[in-house]
Symmetry: C2
Subunit: 376 residues, 2 copies
């Protein structure tokens, strides 16, 4: 079976690595260069979306910020999963908020802001502090502003107004600040028959708005169930097929949806070593109509992102239960270059190994790991 | 780092899948067609051994029956690991027996047979029953004859004489039949510094001379140590770098070497799901000078070969702990097309799942699995 992935980054690559043993042939379509490439080797295979679509049995996506004409062309082929509606909801906070409201799922109170009047109204209606988020292409903390006091409002509005003026398609979603205790995410899949299979909740730590570490969350059964109910509502409301990721704010044992990602997700990379079927193969199984299989935990696993570094001391490979996943990308400051999965038989051993690892990693490139170790 | 694998089959493919996350770029050289291909996609990259060697940082092999001129050209490059001597020992039973004798490692008593006089002498010296094995290219039960009674000797000699006449390079090694209780194998790696890391002993079941299933052996510490001592002697005597597989006959708690394979091995495929670092990555770590890491067992895992079939009921993917590994090859009767790894938390659960699996597999294509289940 031939799969086309929109996007030729690390998620397409890891899908291909997980799908090759199932004899799935996975090509990637680079939307920026209009080229079809081998998802692993990045070797050019051909050009043109029409060719790519014609050659594929199933089309999917590794990211949600896809130009609408491309989405529509894929949708029309009848081969696209999870489909244009889900991708649009993941790529536009306005549509996402509408989806959450319609599904009866809790998230932070919000208002759409396109004008200064709406900006002021949002402050009045929602109160401070407020978080302003760009509606489009706003992942990894880009296009976000915080307003803590009314004195800062005029200066901030000017900044936001400039941002909006630069792109007529953009809009801002103002969200009431949520004083959350932690951020967790739930990753799982729904197949075409409505079967749903999810992983345990994952706890995520960010540094400067970018994911730094993910690890299985200490969570009550009630919290896991709460997350699974939200997952089921959203996945069913979208008639979703594939892996879906939901990021939550946890506030006093209540989960508010922060955002959704209609795809495999960075906070699910630990499943490569920690779960029975990893999220990449889970997604492929779902879109290919194969049994989802088991999302059971094999052993506690911690994921650490590698940002802006293209080499690490080889000694880390001597730590038992450590697997290194490079993405084959050229180095740029802050770029996601790879990740480390660290597994252990239990949490105590995991802490011990994490401590060993921290000693070997360059501290400047891996800030705040010691803090995360203490919280583990 | 760029690795060239001599041989473009499933072992090169699985090496590439295990090495890509380490940013190792793995190409395969098809010795039959003189082409360089992507080890995963099989896409042609170039032609010619000299080009392939020049482009590689390290050269290794996925099989031992490699023409001598190719071996020598690779050896001269100074990039070849485990090196021509080890590959030759794996590809010629005469050299292999000499290696075992020199290292002081026990194997079945033997004699080299090239003439009728030597044939008769071997019967006199070693006694019956005898097993005659071709010196070259004799894997998977091909080129093997058994002699049980002297009455059959004349007919058998004629068959062997015809075989020898057809290829002047061939020879026969006559081995005293070993009344073994079971066949086990030890797979492990040695790095350039002499560090050795091995997996637990694996118990192997063959059908018609071809491996059918492998699973962690119930073995005493003494038996594991005995195997490790043999491994250490052989690996050190070859100054071996990479993964080495040793097949043993177990006779009353004594291990006799059956044969060695200077490469990753079918009986080690279970390590993909059952061990910390799988044999494919272990080999790459060894030849790239990276830490070997841990060969610890994660969970009991059973490997079942898929022979001559290019599809199986999708329902098997619903069994938790089951992973399917297809090799992307075209169907031929008896050909190794893929394998199934089945993992469980313990042996009892493994038996239960194996039973589930047997019910779903086409019985004609998977003979004797019920017998193996009973022995598990």
């Amino acid at each position: 079976m031939k799969i086309l992935v929109l996007g030729a980054g690390q998620l397409a690559r890891m899908m291909a690595l997980a799908g090759t043993p199932l004899n799935l042939q996975i090509n990637a379509y680079d939307v920026n260069t209009d080229t079809i490439v081998d998802a692993i080797s990045q070797q050019a295979i051909g050009r043109g979306l029409a060719t790519a679509i014609a050659d594929a049995d199933i089309i999917t996506a590794e990211f949600e910020h896809i130009p609408l004409p491309i989405l529509e062309q894929c949708q029309q082929s009848g081969k696209f999963l999870p489909g244009a509606e889900a991708i649009k909801a993941g790529g536009d906070r306005r549509i996402e908020k509408q989806l959450l409201d319609n599904a009866g799922v809790k998230s932070a109170e919000y208002a759409i802001v396109n004008t200064e009047a709406q900006f002021k109204q949002a402050i009045t209606d929602l109160g401070l502090p407020l978080v302003f988020k760009s509606a489009l292409a706003g992942y990894d903390g880009k296009g976000q502003w915080r307003l803590k006091t009314t004195e800062q409002a005029a200066v901030l509005w000017q900044e936001i107004a400039d941002f909006l003026a630069a792109d007529p398609k953009q809009a801002i979603v103002a969200e009431k600040f949520v004083p959350f205790q932690r951020e967790v995410s739930l990753i799982g899949a729904r197949d075409a028959n409505g079967n749903i299979s999810v992983y345990p909740l994952t706890e995520n730590h960010h540094v400067n708005g970018v994911l730094s570490t993910s690890v299985i969350a200490e969570a009550t059964t009630a919290l896991q169930q709460q997350a699974e109910q939200v997952f089921t509502k959203l996945a069913n409301s979208l008639n979703y097929v594939g892996v879906l990721a939901i990021e939550f704010f946890e506030v006093n044992q209540q989960l508010l949806v922060n955002e959704i990602a209609p795809r495999v997700h960075n906070s699910g990379h630990w499943t490569q070593q920690g779960a029975d079927v990893c999220q990449f193969q889970l997604h492929l199984r779902a879109i290919c109509g194969l049994p989802l299989g088991s999302t059971d935990l094999i052993r506690p696993t911690l994921m650490i992102n590698i940002l802006g570094e293209d080499s690490l001391p080889n000694e880390i490979l001597a730590i038992s239960g450590l697997q290194l996943h490079w993405y084959g990308k050229s180095k740029r400051p802050g770029r996601k270059m790879g990740h480390i999965n660290l597994s252990a038989v239990n949490k105590t051993e995991l802490k011990h190994k994490f401590n060993q690892l921290i000693d070997l990693l360059p501290a400047a490139a891996f800030p705040q790991l010691t803090t995360m170790l203490e919280q583990l």
